[in-house]
Amino acid sequence: MRISKLLKSWEFALFILLVAEIIILGIINPIFLNLENLLYATLDFSHILLAALPLTLVIITAGIDISSVSVMGLSSIVLGLTWVAGAPIIVALGVALLVGTLAGLFNGVFTANTDVNPLVITLGSLFMFAGFAQGLPILLDKLNFKVAGSGGLAAYQYEGITGLPYSFTDIASTTIWLIPLPFIIVLVFAGILALLLHKTRFGRNLYQIGVNLDASHYSGIAVKKVLILVYIISGFGAALAGIILTAYFTSARADLGSDALLAIITAVVLGGSDILGGKGTILGTLLAGLVLGYLQQGLLAIGISGDIIQVVIGAVLIASLSIRAMINAISQRRQNQKTLLSRSSERR
């Protein structure tokens, strides 16, 4: 019973898909099957997962947060600026995470206290955070503050804030038992979120709000608090993603991650979350993120251009949803047919 349910689950289907994908890509290009390479490849899409995992929680509440792509750049630039200002890198990291959290707080308070569509709210904040991230160094430069150390503004505009300490940039190249540190962070983050979502009152409330907001209010659930918290988590995750990207590229830039929106939302939706709320799991998003990430890596490895990959990802997104919609419609029809047959034979 339990096992058959597991086998029918979307997560299991994703797992099979992931294994099949790796095998097929491995047959085409055996280098791909090397465990070390497989793990190393996660570096390229760890930031997608760090933003997609908390977004899963937001989407379960029937909300959305598209501002995370701006928060990545914002936290990156804040990290760089704090460090240039002379703060120890650990403090800079703290400030960057704090900024992400505050950005999430802003989205959360706005969403929880108005009936404005979260898409509009986070669209507004997407612009606001991105503009702020882009403008901040220039603004500071105007105030005679050296943003990029000796290189000055011109150097900054070309390559971002560079010269970050190795103790920080090593995050991207450190591995523990072959696993890159960023991916370990992803796994730990996923573990914490999964516990939050599936074991705690907060997680339960997320589903309840997504399934029936009014009933949540009538049940005495602290809807506002839960919503504010979930957007804070989303902002925190995006900031974490921004930090990882900064370490990976060894420079702090305002536009880091700005092209990741499609991939992030595709990971969540392919992972089984319903954009209309009430459905979704952390495991699903994690697996879907891996499927997408390896798809991209694999296609690149066998020489397919990034342009075609984008087409493929878009098609995967649409196909995954239309196939699932069709399966639902068919099973519904079958169920009705069955009842009809049994009922009419009963009457005879």
Binding site: I64, I66, F110, T114, D115, V116, N117, L119, V120, I121, L123, G124, S125, L126, F127, M128, F129, A130, G131, F132, Q134, G135, I138, L139, K142, L261, L262, I265, T266, V269, I275, L276, S305, D307, I308, I309, Q310, V311, V312, I313, G314, A315, V316, L317, I318, L321, S322, A325, M326
Partner: protein, 335 residues
């Protein structure tokens, strides 16, 4: 009549126009150059691509949908225009191919939303990736340059010192507004967005209406591609990148309600104008222009917040008025 006047005064279009006016005047106080006709016309001219995309987006939002692929359609159509021109196609044929591309791309979205029942944001996010990818594939990944002069010419044409494209866009916006007010089938879009079940029960072709909304968005994105190509003179692979979100922002600013059933082409156009003006104003005020996104975002949030507050107090007044009218109509009916 009085009621009409009141509703005009309460309209979002006017609120944003008023805000824009105040911003222009106060910027002018700092830097009188800003008030010169040339700079105003220049802002208008710069806003045209966004304006056309936003008007297309409006059709979709009115039906309670959303289309984040519009700017990608603009990019794709522009590449088709540039490629066909450089292949030596006559300009009329190239323009036709461009428009066909836009319509086709919009129709693909429409099929996904109306027949495959994929939620609009997901469908168009998927095609956003697809169209951007196709665009690069067609262009071979590099800019399209050395376009023939005949496509760049319209950008120089002027009547009464005002660029041809400004005239053209104004005409398009006005004609679109008139059609969407007077033409019965255009009203279907509003009805579908306002109450899809009600529209279905009244026998309105809901699917066809949705289909045409997404297709129209594609058409307008292609028109934007033509203006863009003519104005810029080459096509970069980032053409109109990020305009999908700006177009949505322009619509929301201009009073197009994301809950469907509300909005005008003029509103969307004013919203686009506003977003474009912000950047110029910052420059004239000596603030780094790169901060324009921050200001645009903040203004968008401010406007939707004000709108929320006004709406809530109106709703309450409506309930009160309704309760009173029920009181007065219902007294002494039962014998």
């Amino acid at each position: 009549m009085n009621k009409k006047l009141k509703s005009v005064l309460q309209s979002r279009e006017l609120l944003v126009l008023f805000l824009l006016f105040i911003l222009i005047i106060s910027t002018g106080l700092f830097n009188s150059n800003f008030l010169k006709a040339n700079s105003i016309i220049e802002i208008f001219n710069t806003s045209l691509t966004l304006m056309l995309i936003a008007v297309g987006e409006m059709f979709v939002i009115i039906t309670r949908g959303i289309d984040v692929s519009v700017a990608a359609i603009t990019g794709l159509s522009a590449v088709v225009l540039g490629t066909t021109l450089n292949m030596g196609w006559p300009i009329a044929l190239a323009l036709l191919a461009t428009i066909a591309t836009g319509i086709l791309a919009g129709a693909v979205n429409a099929v996904g939303v109306t027949f495959l029942k994929v939620p609009p944001i997901i469908m168009t996010l998927g095609t956003l990736g697809i169209y951007r990818g196709l665009m690069r594939i067609i262009a071979g990944g590099s800019w399209i340059e050395r376009l023939p002069q005949n496509i760049k010419n319209p950008n120089i044409w002027r009547f009464l010192d005002i660029p041809f494209f400004v005239w053209l866009s104004i005409a398009i916006v006005i004609v679109t507004s008139i059609i969407s007010f007077k033409y019965k089938k255009a009203r279907y879009l509003y009805a579908v967005g306002d109450n899809a079940n009600g529209a279905f029960l009244l026998g309105i072709p809901v699917k066809l209406s949705l289909f045409s909304a997404y297709t129209l968005a594609g058409l307008f994105s292609a028109l934007a591609a033509i203006v863009y190509t003519s104005q810029i003179g080459f096509i970069s692979m980032n053409a109109a990148d990020g305009f999908e979100l700006k177009a949505i922002a322009a619509c929301v600013l201009g009073g197009v309600g994301l809950m469907g059933g509300v909005g005008t082409a003029i509103g969307a156009a004013i919203g686009a104008l506003f977003l474009t003006a912000v950047r110029s104003m910052l420059v004239f005020l000596g603030i780094p222009g790169i901060l324009d996104n921050a200001f645009a975002g903040a203004i968008l949030l401010l406007v939707v917040y004000i709108d929320y507050r006004v709406r809530k107090s109106l709703e309450y007044k409506q309930i009160q008025a309704r309760a009173q009218s029920e009181d007065s109509t219902n007294t002494g009916v039962n014998q």
